[in-house]
């Protein structure tokens, strides 16, 4: 199953897309328990792309591609912003950052997905979740 969309930098449209995408994906997942993690990763990547990547600029779009294959699901999200260095994002579970009000999205993606890499100077994130032993 392939789901591709170009979204405006509008959080309402992003949430509507996530709901529609999850409605298509959920029945196809090998275990319902993957649904929450995939939804969370998709949510965090898209919200980051709109807020931090495109800076909520309505002239800029976010591209999202989701590919569900036997044994794995891959999500790619690309924004049109300036990019960033993901290595510079602090770990939010350190004592000094624990009470900060932002900076958890990328950390969560890295924790819940099996692969997460940034390309094109941080404008693109590619994430993969493997359904080990369930394909």
């Amino acid at each position: 199953m392939l789901i591709s969309e170009s979204l405006p930098s509008d959080l309402g449209r992003v949430e509507a897309f996530i709901s529609a995408a999850m409605a298509k994906l959920s029945p196809e997942l090998p275990d319902p328990s993957f649904g929450f993690q995939i939804k969370l990763a998709l949510h965090e990547a898209l919200v980051n792309a709109v807020r931090h990547g495109n800076q909520m600029n309505p002239q800029l779009a976010v591209r999202v591609d989701i590919a569900l294959e036997p044994g794995k699901l891959a999500i790619t999200v690309t924004d049109q912003g300036r990019g960033f260095d993901a290595r510079q994002v602090p770990v939010p579970t350190c004592v000094e950052h624990l009470e900060k009000l932002s900076g958890r999205g990328i950390f969560l993606i890295r924790k819940i997905m099996d692969q997460a890499e940034f390309l094109d100077q941080g404008r693109t994130i590619k994430m993969v979740k493997y359904f080990r032993g369930q394909s």
Binding site: S102, G105, I112
Partner: protein, 110 residues
């Protein structure tokens, strides 16, 4: 998201239903600030009917925990499902905001 507040003794109980996304977090923040303005210091959030929380929702809870702490009060959460509990644990927010299995246990925290 539906947000409904009730009072039990000195404790304000905030019942949530639905998903805690970005816009819902703004709505929840406003509800919390209203409670603070009304003098609430002991607040319990009931997650029984919450199916999803994003990082914006976590940030709102942390901010409210900080504001309540400043006011000499406390924020606790209860009835969180396993997926969302996992989220609290991954981010270590359960170390900042106590989580209880049910409302009775959470109320004893106060």
């Amino acid at each position: 998201m539906k947000i409904q507040a009730e009072t039990q003794g000195a404790v304000k109980i905030v019942n949530l239903a639905g998903e805690l996304n970005v816009d819902d977090s703004i709505q929840l923040r406003e509800a919390f600030l209203k409670l603070l303005k009304e003098g609430a210091t002991k607040v319990m959030v009931d997650f029984e009917k919450v199916s999803f929380v994003g990082s914006a929702g976590l940030a709102t809870l942390i901010e409210m925990m900080q504001l309540l702490k400043k006011a000499g009060g406390k924020l606790v959460c209860c009835q969180i499902n396993n997926d969302i509990r996992g989220l609290f644990e991954i981010t270590k927010i359960h170390k900042l905001i106590p989580i209880y299995e049910n409302r009775a246990m959470a109320l004893r925290e106060f």
